[in-house]
């Protein structure tokens, strides 16, 4: 796969990039591939060209979990990079590592910047802050899941492309219609079932994922994923899978390929996947994340996914100053605006969001504001601030295994959700 070759090229880039003179080199470990990897390289290059004191060296470290592991291993070997990109579910792990990381608010101060929380989008900042409000990591790429659909297939099946399905019920019905009409072999697929169909499903429909405000208020969390609304949802999904209307692509973003190749008519995927969708050249449309028609108060708000940049502790003042400068560079309105327009990730500052609005970008690109409005539209409730568990990666693993058993027809939806709750609760108790 391209990942291996990317690792190689990343390593090469890291070893061959020689600083011209006495610059402070700062390594930036990341997990971006494809179009998003190009953005990382461009940003580093622009920052390096803009001044002479620091050099940011991006190093590709594999998938999100692989990057997190590389960081942990580096910490244990006392060979940490300056900056590491950690995905949303790794946030709990990093927060638990007090002393290993330096809060971003302090890093910005090292670069002579007064950290002002109100400059950043509240939903995103809240997710990456301690309960007392200190921002711990820099939100680099925040995304929220949206619905992509293939306009050509919709037209072939005689479905209106101007009003994409809004509820899950409509998505499932449309998917069946498409399969029956023969316009596509597969009606619907989804990346990241755990993130989209559980974490965001709960927030968007304003139902609890677990106790203790989904883990934001305390670590002694009990999962509540076997409530009827989840069971019904997965029962329907399993039935679609049985009929070949829904196709499972894998645990992370593999299913995107099924959409890009034109096999599946609809896809739920991170807004950050937009770069690849645009690159593929298919005639696509965007809708907001579907919600459950039976949920009261839905749609509520989605929760941010993606990743943030963490800074390791124990570095020199010079390095912190450089990292602070780089974060200042990243926060610039024009950089954020470009990042947002190019990659589909959300702008992290209010100013960048306003600037994008003013530029008329959203009028020209309908649907591109969707991931922001669906996250920012309403004041978050205790069900929709986010999910934070000390071992969320492990919980997702359990959920994925159960989903695979369900979609293969080995067990029913009730058993699946009961198992997730039982095994998940055991794992959470163990990780205390």
């Amino acid at each position: 796969m391209s990942i291996r070759s990317l690792i190689l090229s990343g390593v090469l880039a890291a070893t061959t990039a020689m600083p011209a003179f006495a610059q402070t080199e700062i390594q930036w470990w990341h997990a971006m591939t494809g179009a998003n990897n190009e953005v990382v390289d461009t940003l580093a290059k622009e920052f390096n060209d803009s001044q002479d004191d620091y050099e940011i060296v991006p190093v590709f470290k594999g998938t999100y979990p692989e990057t997190l592991n590389a960081g942990i291993a580096a910490f244990r070997a006392k060979q940490t990079p300056g900056i590491i990109q950690v995905f949303d579910v790794g946030t709990g792990v990093m927060m638990g590592a007090e002393g290993a990381v330096k809060p971003v608010a302090e890093v910005l101060e090292a670069a002579g910047e007064k950290f002002d929380k109100s400059k950043y989008l509240p939903g995103i900042v809240a997710y990456y802050s301690k309960p007392d409000g200190t921002m711990l990591s820099f939100p680099y790429n925040s995304s929220s899941p949206i619905l992509y659909f293939n306009k050509d297939i919709f037209e072939k099946a005689g479905i209106d492309t101007a009003s994409p399905p809004k509820t899950w019920q409509e998505v499932f019905e449309t998917a069946r219609k498409i399969k029956e009409s023969g316009a596509a072999d597969c009606g619907y697929t989804s990346t990241w079932l755990t993130w989209i169909h559980l974490e965001n499903f709960a927030a968007w429909n304003d139902v609890p994922y677990g106790t203790e405000e989904n883990g934001l208020a305390g670590t002694d969390v009990k999962l509540e994923l076997n409530a009827p609304i989840f069971v019904e949802h997965f029962k329907e999904l399993a039935s679609l899978a049985k009929d070949g209307v829904f196709r499972y692509g894998g645990r992370t973003s593999e299913a995107k390929q099924l959409f890009l190749s034109g096999e599946c008519a609809m896809l739920t995927e991170s807004s950050g996947g937009l770069g690849d969708v645009v690159k593929s050249g298919i005639n696509y449309g965007i809708g907001q994340l579907p919600y459950d028609a039976n949920a009261e108060g839905a749609p509520q708000n989605t929760i941010p996914g993606g990743a943030s940049l963490w800074v390791f502790g124990g570095k020199s003042d010079e390095e912190y100053k450089g990292i602070g400068e780089f974060f200042k560079f990243l926060s610039q309105t024009d950089v954020q605006q470009r990042l947002h327009e190019k990659s589909g990730y959300l702008p992290v500052t209010e100013a960048a969001y306003e600037a994008t609005k003013k530029s008329g970008f959203y009028e020209k690109n309908p649907g591109r504001e969707t991931p922001i409005t669906q996250m920012m539209g309403k004041q978050p409730t205790e069900n929709s601030k986010g999910v934070r568990l000390p071992n969320l990666p492990q919980i997702r693993d359990i959920e994925n295994e159960q989903f695979e058993a369900l979609l293969a027809g080995k067990q029913d939806a009730q058993t699946t959700m009961d198992n997730i709750v039982k095994l998940g609760n055991e794992a959470i108790a163990e990780a205390q």
Partner: protein, 293 residues
């Protein structure tokens, strides 16, 4: 036997030293670290750790997932070893019969061995992945429900075939050499006595190449146990629903994805014990039945 006496008492130790140093650094030291880690409960960053004795072991052994992983490993290893050896033996006997272009066929058959496990895995992934695989499309067009992402048996089949494919060349090489060492005169004598070629193979050739078969059995089992991580990681990632999660893969997954270092270390210690036991059994009992010419 004459006792060899070296005039220099230090030199032999000096000559041995590099080998001993390598063994200590790359085997004993990590092994002792694993042993130590297996009795600790620790957060991923190693900031807080607590001695818990054998608690990690009781937890691992009482976990149904672990027992499932044992079953998966047995099925995977036996299938891979049997498939790789049977096909290699078949190809080797066939290659023996070829009169013209023997060298060419042999070279072609040895090639796959140069492929790294992860690359072999990716080759099969590209051929059979339901989202992008060429063969996956063909199978689906033929009306076969091919989906190793959800069907555990299909996923197992896929990793077994990929793992065996890579090992066939190695086995082939050894079988060819073994077949060449079988004395012509024995086979010719049997032919004169009227034994059919099948009979000649099973009563003369097969017993005579038994030492090689035994050697390959050991090598293939070890290979299936330890060297197939790359294939499993690339093709199935242990899924679906743990259907291809071998013991080695579980050590990696629990330690490096789920960040449970104590549990993962306990598993690797158990694995170490299993391998020591397996090797001992193979050499003590199975080897006795092997006829060395």
């Amino acid at each position: 036997m004459q006792k060899a006496v070296f005039p220099n008492r230090v030199l032999p130790y000096l000559l041995l030293a590099p080998q001993v140093a390598i063994t200590i650094v790359f085997f004993y030291w990590p092994a002792s670290q694993a042993l130590y880690q297996s009795m600790l409960k620790e957060d991923p960053f190693g900031l807080k750790s607590k001695f818990v004795g054998l608690q990690n072991f009781t937890q691992v052994l009482g976990n149904p997932d672990y027992l499932n992983s044992v079953r998966v490993t047995v099925v995977f290893s036996v299938s891979t070893a049997v498939l790789a050896m049977a096909l290699a033996l078949f190809l080797a006997t066939a290659a023996e019969k070829v009169v013209r272009g023997k060298g060419f066929y042999r070279t072609m058959l040895i090639w796959p061995y140069a492929v790294a496990p992860a690359v072999a895995g990716l080759l099969f992934l590209f051929m059979f992945n339901p989202s992008m695989g060429t063969f996956a499309y063909l199978l689906r067009d033929a009306g076969y429900r091919w989906n190793p992402l959800l069907d555990g048996d299909q996923a197992m089949l896929l990793v077994v075939v990929a793992a065996a494919w890579k090992q066939i060349s190695y086995n082939f090489l050894f079988f060819v050499a073994a077949l060449q060492s079988v004395p012509r005169s024995l086979i010719e004598a049997a032919a004169i006595d009227g034994a059919s070629s099948t009979k000649r193979f099973w009563t003369i050739v097969f017993p005579l190449i038994a030492p090689t078969t035994f050697f390959l059995l050991v090598v293939n089992t070890v290979y299936a146990f330890f060297d197939t991580f790359g294939i499993i990681d690339a093709v199935t990632g242990g899924g679906p629903a743990q259907a291809t999660q071998t013991l080695v893969y579980k050590v990696y997954n629990d330690g490096f994805v789920n960040l449970d270092l104590g549990g993962s270390a306990a598993q690797s210690v158990i694995l170490m014990a299993i391998v020591i036991a397996l090797t001992a059994i193979q050499f003590r009992y199975v080897e006795k039945r092997v006829h060395y010419a």
